[in-house]
């Protein structure tokens, strides 16, 4: 039977591949292009929004999460993403890249509630992060970077559905990865 099982899987593969119609690499490109355009538009919208009701708790030093073991990599963006491994399964999207000051990240359609903004950054310097919603703005907070950093956690309280605009200013072009995770 083991040999038969191999044959069964081989036939499954052949039969299924024959029915798969790939949307194509060009379709993937269109999707990525459309998303980037949407993200850019969302940044513009977030900057212009007046009535985003949001309370941004400030003044507390960012907490550091426990270090996470994982495969080491030379790529600083990937290392920054690894610092978010603790919240990898939580709903929400990871935003990552290199800070070429200032770098804007838009988080749209955020519902009311309490959140933690996880931010990991890789490099010799630090990242200053300012959180804006409409005309409200929380003073910039500084997050130290490292080679294999722990993600900082910044509490964010949102009182009504809104968009957030994160403004990142870094020293020495650090890599970053961030994710907004609902805490309650």
């Amino acid at each position: 039977m083991p040999d038969q099982i191999e044959e069964l899987f081989a036939r499954l593969r052949t039969e299924t591949i024959g029915q798969v119609r790939p949307p194509g690499a060009a379709a993937a490109r269109r999707t990525v292009r459309r998303r980037r355009a949407a993200a850019t538009a969302a940044v513009a919208t977030a900057v212009g929004v007046v009535a985003g009701a949001v309370l941004l708790s400030g003044g507390r030093a960012p907490e550091q999460t426990a270090p996470v073991a994982g495969p080491s990599t030379e790529d600083p963006v990937a290392r920054a993403e690894q610092s978010l491994a603790n919240v990898a399964d939580a709903p929400g999207e990871i935003h990552s890249g290199v800070v070429t000051s200032p770098t804007y990240v838009s988080l749209t359609a955020i519902e009311a509630g309490n959140y933690l903004l996880y931010l990991g950054c890789v490099g010799p310097g630090s990242i200053g992060i300012e959180i804006r919603s409409g005309r409200q703005s929380r003073p910039s907070e500084n997050v130290s970077c490292g080679e294999n950093p722990d993600a900082a956690r910044l509490p964010v309280a949102v009182t009504g559905r809104t968009s957030l605009l994160l403004v990142l200013n870094g020293t020495d072009n650090p890599a970053y990865a961030l994710k907004l995770v609902r805490s309650s």
Binding site: R13, T16, Q19, P22, G24, A28
Partner: protein, 168 residues
């Protein structure tokens, strides 16, 4: 070296269909498998500069597709709607064979870890050590999963074959 880094198109062309088969065998829905694999490739493309330098970019895409499927596409609603619209022009295809249905159904009876091991072994062509590393378990554990899974599949699939034999 730039020539050593595979292009996105090369990786897509070489692995899209295979990854769909793997996800289909694991989750049992071919259309959903196609959607999550396409979404995983979109995510890879968005950061291709990074992903293409990984030792095994396909492994990254597979893992992302798997995670997307497990989380029931919570984060990919927009892309899925887009892809479903794309499928309107898809030609009508013949249904799956009885053998394929039986295999998918038998796989669905396996515990998730064993089913994953079977898919990775027989459809992704990973070795036992590679599966063990991916799953974070000992090689012996993987061998045990595969052994038990083969036994269960054999038991589930043999009666129908016998019935077919009797009918013939």
């Amino acid at each position: 070296m730039p020539q050593d880094i595979p292009t996105f198109d090369e990786i897509y062309a070489a692995h899209y269909a295979d990854l769909v088969v793997q996800l289909y065998a694991y989750f049992g829905d071919r259309h959903e498998a196609q959607d999550v694999v396409q979404e995983a490739f979109c995510r890879a493309l968005a950061r291709w500069g990074t992903v293409s330098r990984y030792d095994d970019p396909v492994s990254w895409v597979r893992r992302v597709a798997w995670n997307l499927a497990i989380s029931k596409w919570r984060r990919t609603k927009t892309a899925l709607l887009f892809l479903r619209k794309q499928r309107r022009d898809e030609p009508q295809l013949a249904g799956p064979s009885a053998e394929r249905v039986a295999l998918i159904a038998a796989l669905a009876q396996l515990p998730a870890t064993q089913r994953r091991a079977m898919v990775l072994r027989y459809l992704a062509d990973l070795t036992v050590p590679e599966i063990a590393e991916r799953e974070g378990v000992a090689e012996g554990t993987v061998k045990s999963w595969l052994h038990r899974s083969r036994a269960v599949l054999a038991a589930q699939l043999q009666p129908s074959e016998a019935e077919e034999g009797r009918r013939a």
